[in-house]
């Protein structure tokens, strides 16, 4: 028995005549990162994590005296909330999205196209930066409305934010790229919560118990938040330690991610 061959009726002759070639790298990067940015801003849970919770904390902690803070409260709260926003986007949101993207096979799908591997990672990080830009603008406008006034520390604050993106972004890729999606989801949320309260983000290092403050100062959360408080709220302290701590985390996590991240 010979099965009859299907007729190619639906597809006009020449439709698939080969014309291969790699697309333009800039266009690939723009298409991928803008798609990932749209996906992040469309995802309700991500928006809750990256925008709504930081906004509620910024307004709430500025207006309500729950934690002992120097006046004007908004300066210190804005610094803390910026650190939270960076951690939420670059680490928690990124790890969870990466874990589920791997589960749904997108990383493998894109690895089989002409998209180079470095661009696959660069596209994700550009999308993270895009989200952080949205966060900085929205949170900055709300802080202005609450009475914060930008001073000389804004430039240093932006450098800290970028270093925070690098350190947390590498950690997010490392977590999301090595474990199963459900475990990533659970761990990323637990770490977010622990660092929020005990990692030097909402509670300044000076208010934490001494031992915990030392540990928190060496964590990317404590380093970023304390650095931003020094830069934006005039908290006493040297910027050297926060900068060095963030660089160290970015390098160590970046190297580990490059070696350990799996595509499936």
């Amino acid at each position: 028995m010979t099965a009859s061959r299907p007729s190619p009726g639906r597809f006009a002759p020449g439709t698939f005549t080969p014309r291969p070639g790699r697309g333009d790298l800039g266009r690939m990067l723009a298409t991928q990162s803008s798609l990932e940015l749209r996906l992040a801003l469309r995802n309700g849970e991500q928006v809750l994590l990256t925008l709504l919770i930081p906004i509620v904390l910024l307004v709430g902690l500025s207006l309500v005296d729950i934690i002992d803070l120097p006046a004007p409260r908004v300066d210190s709260v804005f610094a803390s909330v910026l650190a939270l926003a960076v951690m939420s986007t670059a680490f928690t949101g990124q790890a969870i999205a990466f874990g589920f993207d791997r589960r749904y096979g997108v990383v493998r799908r894109l690895a089989a196209t002409a998209l180079p591997r470095w661009l696959l990672v660069a596209g994700r990080l550009v999308a993270v930066l895009g989200t952080v830009v949205v966060q900085v603008v929205v949170l900055g406008l709300i802080a202005l409305a609450l009475g914060w006034r930008p001073g000389g520390g804004v430039g240093v604050a932006l450098v800290l934010v970028l270093l925070g993106c690098a350190a947390f972004g590498a950690l997010g890729l490392l977590l999301g790229g090595t474990l199963r999606a459900e475990i990533v989801l659970a761990l990323a949320n637990v770490v977010w919560f622990v660092l929020l309260l005990g990692g030097g983000i909402v509670v300044p290092l000076a208010t934490l118990p001494a031992g915990l403050a030392t540990v928190a100062g060496l964590l990317p959360s404590g380093a970023l938040a304390e650095g931003l408080r020094i830069a934006l709220a005039g908290t006493d302290g040297s910027l050297l330690q926060p900068l060095l701590v963030l660089v160290a985390w970015a390098v160590v996590a970046g190297v580990a991610a490059a070696r350990l991240v799996r595509l499936t």
């Binding site: 190619p8 790699r22 469309r42 993207d101 089989a112 196209t113």
Partner: protein, 314 residues
């Protein structure tokens, strides 16, 4: 044997002695494979036979432990980026961002190629127009498969790898995919597809390579595989309980006879007029009339099951 650096001329894929191990188990154990330019080759085998691993090595997603592979004249492990600009791949089960819309995903893959097909037209012709704005995780299995297929061909590649392209599709969608594969061949695209559907291999492939436990157990055109000498059968009905050993002895060497159900007999081997005469004559000596005599060629499925066994695979 060593391959020319850029592979044999006229060959899209050449694989010699491919070996891949995962820990103690050997997934691919000395596979040879050829996909001539502008032809369709089906890699047929049960689950776990080594089909996907072979494809993943050819596309540069995995590295071989031994053997030689040339794809479009390139070594996939040595020049993965140069190769991926010229091939299209449909990974098993597709792949996309869970929250991405179908058209967005295809547009992203199209952006990776220099001269892609028109995304909207491809979406329409593959019957995805009504779900172009549906997110990937809400698409049905068959719709996800068609999107994955669109992603494999949108870049106008010279060679397409399709890993189980019709898994989970209804018959209409499968027919559409078959038409598409037929069109690819017509337009000069080489296709390597994996399947465990005999019907699919028989309908589409110029060559079929049957693989099991990581080894090639048979290869040839569907016609060659189903018309080898021992792939014919003579079936007849007669009085139950005749001695089939005696029947086989009455035939030339190499023929097999069996009574799979009471009163139903099967003789396997090349069925020519003398053999037919010998069978009916032998029945006469038993005082039986051979009734309902039929000569059939075995299907590719029979060949496949004989070669790979009938037990269930995990």
């Amino acid at each position: 044997m060593s391959l020319p650096a850029d592979g044999p001329p006229g060959s899209a894929v050449t694989v010699r002695g491919l070996v891949k191990r995962y820990g103690p188990s050997t997934a691919v154990d000395g596979v040879d494979l050829d996909v001539p330019a502008a032809s369709v080759v089906a890699l047929l085998g049960p689950n776990g036979a080594g089909k996907t691993t072979t494809v993943e090595i050819c596309t540069g997603l995995r590295r071989a432990d031994a053997g030689e592979v040339r794809v479009l004249g390139l070594d996939p492990a040595g020049a993965p980026d140069a190769l991926r600009a010229r091939i299209g791949v449909m990974p098993q089960g597709g792949g996309a961002y869970p929250g991405v819309r179908a058209a967005e995903m295809l547009r992203l893959v199209a952006a990776c190629s220099a001269h892609p097909l028109d995304v909207d037209e491809l979406i329409e012709v593959l019957g995805l127009g009504s779900c172009a704005r549906t997110t990937y995780k809400r698409l049905s299995g068959g719709q996800q498969q068609r999107l994955a297929l669109a992603c494999a061909v949108v870049g106008r590649p010279e060679l397409v790898f399709l890993d189980e392209p019709t898994a989970g599709m209804d018959p209409q969608a499968r027919r559409l995919v078959w038409e598409l594969i037929e069109s690819l061949r017509r337009d000069g695209v080489a296709v390597l597809l994996t399947t465990h559907l005999m019907e699919e291999a028989e309908a589409l492939a110029d060559d079929v390579v049957i693989i099991d436990h990581g080894r090639v157990v048979a290869h040839g055109s569907p016609a060659e595989l189903t018309t080898t000498a021992d792939s014919q059968e003579l079936r007849f009905r007669a009085r139950a309980g005749m001695d089939v050993t005696e029947l086989a002895a009455a035939l030339p060497a190499g023929y097999a006879a069996a009574e799979p159900a009471a009163g139903r007999y099967v003789v396997q081997g090349r069925i020519d007029p003398p053999v037919l005469a010998a069978v009916t004559t032998w029945c006469a000596t038993q005082g039986a009339l051979a009734d309902d005599v039929r000569i059939t060629r075995r299907s590719l499925e029979d060949v496949f099951l004989d070669l790979t066994g009938r037990e269930l695979r995990p």
